[in-house]
């Protein structure tokens, strides 16, 4: 069964540094998402992406965040200047038909900001 793959699985960075989290969605999917889960809390929506542009974003997704689909397969989340509170698990997801089809999640990238 096709999978969403995320790299790296763990990332440690220093406060103020830029990080790029990478995702390869399922190949025939058209909608892409990033979610965040702070340790012990619920999974929170960050952003959705369709037709090469952001479709929806939450209040969490402020100016320090950006997303990009640089080629036909990768989908990236960039955090420009990391803060301690950005430490979390970041999940990428994709779906074939947006809200009318299931979202498939990757295994996540655990980001630790020191």
């Amino acid at each position: 069964e096709p999978e969403v793959t995320q790299t790296p699985s763990h990332q440690v960075t220093q406060m103020g540094q830029e990080v790029i989290l990478r995702c390869v969605p399922i190949s025939n999917h058209l909608y892409f998402y990033w979610y965040r889960q702070i340790l012990g809390q619920k999974v929170e929506f960050l952003v959705s992406f369709y037709n090469n542009e952001i479709s929806e974003k939450s209040e969490i997704f402020d100016d320090q965040f950006s997303v990009e689909r640089p080629d036909g397969s990768n989908f990236t989340l960039k955090i420009r200047s990391t803060k301690l509170e950005d430490s979390a698990m970041y999940f990428c997801a994709s779906s074939a038909q947006g809200r009318n089809s299931p979202l498939h999640f990757g295994n996540g990238t655990r980001l630790t900001v020191t």
Partner: protein
């Protein structure tokens, strides 16, 4: 936005027991999914079930969309069923690319 409430928040059972997890949501939905988050943090998709009933082995789920709730049944629990179970929905009223809204989860512990 849509509210998702899960109950109970915590559940401790002996191996072999059955359990029912509940998810209430505040608006009509296009998408409802149940996930199991394992101890490594991975989100395992259990069911895509905006309405109706589905079964997969020892697990089954029912969504009564008109009454805005969904139930996840786990029968003959095993220790590997331990973890957090999340319900997540997409409201019908939103845009085509709206993301899932997650509940806070039910933390299930199965004791041997």
């Amino acid at each position: 936005g849509i509210q998702v409430e899960q109950s109970p928040p915590d559940l401790i059972l002996q191996e072999g027991a059955n359990s029912t997890l509940r998810c209430n949501f505040s608006d009509s939905v296009n998408n409802l999914q149940w996930f199991h988050q394992n101890p490594w943090g991975q989100l395992i998709n259990l069911f895509y079930i905006p309405s109706g009933t589905k079964q997969n082995g020892r697990l089954s789920a029912t969504t009564v969309a008109t009454e805005r709730y969904s139930l996840l049944y786990i029968s003959s629990s095993q220790t590997t069923d331990s973890g957090v179970y999340f319900c997540a929905v997409v409201a019908s009223s939103g845009g085509g690319a709206d993301g899932l809204t997650f509940g806070k989860g039910t933390h299930l512990i199965i004791q041997p």
